[in-house]
Symmetry: C2
Subunit: 381 residues, 2 copies
């Protein structure tokens, strides 16, 4: 079989974008490149549903998270973050790194946080100014209802700022930054944006920009103050990843052409189709609040991760993701984030069935594929 | 005319590498990708002429510089840096950002530092542990004799560490990190390595690694401690810029095939051919110690940068670089760093002549091309 990638980042890159990025190199302080930047800055607003600037950093998603922690937390302010998986945990690592006093809300993996839990923490910690959340926790495939959490927190404490890791949610879940009053959102290029890794995109509301302008960032390369200042001149503070920004332009055009709501709906359908497929095989879903980016599934009793994954990869060319941290070897994760359509879901379910069969897991051949296929047919637009 | 790029980063990307980077995306925690990493880590040692590890960071050259300043300077240690242009100045900005006490040696742009100047500073500042240098200062096209400076400084003060910005020298100038006793060198992907911007490569000697292991980096994303630890497991701490690392592998193979010394010699010949060409046109070179990466030239009296550059770019498709900082509008810079050969130099000289003619600068048509061509023919290997 030919290679197929079903991992929640990097995600497959559309062929047209691969080739667009292969065009001859151009200089970054040049009107040709500035034309790309202009389109990107403009269309990124659609992606985040904001009228505020979205900064393009050349680095991974983590670099985007660091840009926020290092640029928006002055001495004297405290934070609360939610640790419900490997990426929520990263907010905590960053806050600790920059010695920002913080409270951790620890959630069982697979269970999302509620507004009330955050409100309770802020009540007893009046120095907290900022909440760090994860919209779609990639390690657990768990969706947090950012809309209602933000509304709840801001209704109780209007001064609180809400910062969201949207690394695997941007493009896969409805996200309306302005309407929902979110102060900052970060994503990465190799996720819903369907281009290779190497860019972080950081959307910051006007209220946040005022704060950033008064604070010297604790990072040099990742200073949002510097990035915003350069952006006003349609420039970047440092040499940007030119080829990836060219790819970004074409990716944003694809998304615009499909339509933001259509992209969200596609991810919702694909996610549900996979959940139905694996459930029909008698497998158990990991998350109580499933993300539309990635579906984690418990490995059934007697099925060894290494054999299961080895079959998939070696025999059938399908790369999925394993469990992380405490769930290594206990769950597997199927991604449906980015450049996927109905038939990709049928393909991955067929692959899952073939590997389960090799692992001698008992099920009716075709049950998973049928459930996925049927749901997708029932919900054709 | 078709577009041609003669800027000192980004530099042209070989067509074979553009297409190699356009291959289907692979996952970074996967043996396919690890095979790329293994080759890169191995062949980067050839590039830096070292047996020590070379770390790959996903970011610009500046991110690589920051990784060093934030990872190797503990409280209590002081530094000296040389400011002879925009990129030397950046070491100073980084040292100031991280509040590392430091002495600045200011050089006239275009004039390199000597060992004696550095030794004099260290003598009167005994807390200095580290010297930050620039091998090829891109803004001034000036080469510093890192070999003799390092030898001089280390002979006077064996404990001093020497850290080199090799961003435009790696690949264009002889650099023998181990033999010359240099402790760390940083470069960027979009320079002598001929791939798009987005990677920084940081070579660190064993002595430096011991130091890094005992220090928590002040940066999170750019921690060399974390990068070195991941590298031991053939991994990266954060999602790397996969497509660029694939390109890096092919670029390093091209360099290995040509041979490191042949690459240095090619740059030396190309640089000299351009210097002879512009001199034959009656133009004046900017630097007293010319870099083999880029040649800055004074604009002659009466020739306006905007017209000169506009002709080159609009009529002839040739992109060169202008002056930076105080030399904006006063000099122009022709790059010969990376994927260039003899005929590219003849082409750029022909373009320069055409634009000078349009600007009504008086010279004998063909004098520049002839001088470049003649030197290249005389020095055919």
């Amino acid at each position: 079989m030919r290679p197929r990638l079903f991992t929640p980042g990097p995600t497959p890159v559309p062929e047209s974008i691969q080739l667009a990025m292969a065009q001859p190199m151009i200089h970054h302080r040049n009107e040709d490149f500035q034309a790309y930047l202009t389109v990107c800055h403009d269309k990124l607003k659609l992606l985040f549903q904001t009228s505020s600037p979205v900064v393009i950093l050349s680095g991974s998603g983590t670099s985007g998270m660091e840009s926020l922690v290092s640029s928006v937390m002055p001495d004297g302010e405290e934070a609360v973050f939610v640790n419900g998986g490997k990426f929520g945990e990263r907010w905590g690592e960053l806050l600790a790194h920059y010695q920002v006093p913080h409270v951790e809300i620890t959630k069982t993996w697979g269970v999302p946080v509620t507004a009330d839990e955050i409100i309770a923490v802020i009540k007893t910690n009046p120095k907290i100014t900022t909440v760090f959340l994860t919209h779609s926790e990639t390690s657990t495939g768990t969706f947090t209802d950012i809309k209602s959490v933000t509304a709840g927190v801001k209704s109780a404490f209007p001064h609180i700022k809400v910062i969201v890791d949207g690394i695997t949610s941007v493009g896969s879940h409805e996200l309306r930054m302005d309407e929902w009053g979110i102060d900052a959102v970060v994503t990465g290029s190799q996720k819903g944006l369907m281009i290779p890794p190497g860019l972080a995109l950081v959307a910051v509301q006007q209220s946040m920009i005022e704060k950033i302008k008064t604070l010297k960032s604790k990072s040099f390369y990742l200073s949002l103050q510097d990035a915003l200042k350069s952006q006003e001149a349609n420039d970047t503070p440092w040499t940007p990843a030119v080829s990836l920004i060219i790819g970004l332009k074409y990716a944003l055009e694809l998304i615009e052409k499909e339509g933001m709501e259509a992209v969200w709906k596609r991810h919702s359908r694909l996610g549900e189709s996979v959940r139905r497929g694996v459930t029909a095989l008698g497998l158990r879903l990991f998350s109580t609040s499933p993300s539309n980016a990635v579906t984690p599934v418990y490995l059934p009793e007697g099925v060894d991760w290494k054999s299961f994954n080895g079959n998939l990869k070696k025999k059938d060319g399908i790369t999925i993701a394993g469990g992380q941290g405490p769930y290594t070897g206990k769950i597997f994760r199927i991604s449906h984030l980015g450049y996927y359509d109905d038939f990709d879901m049928i393909t991955v379910m067929a692959g899952i069935e073939r590997s389960l069969k090799s692992c001698k897991y008992p099920f009716t051949t075709g049950a998973g594929v049928a459930a996925t296929h049927q749901y997708l047919m029932e919900t054709l637009g």
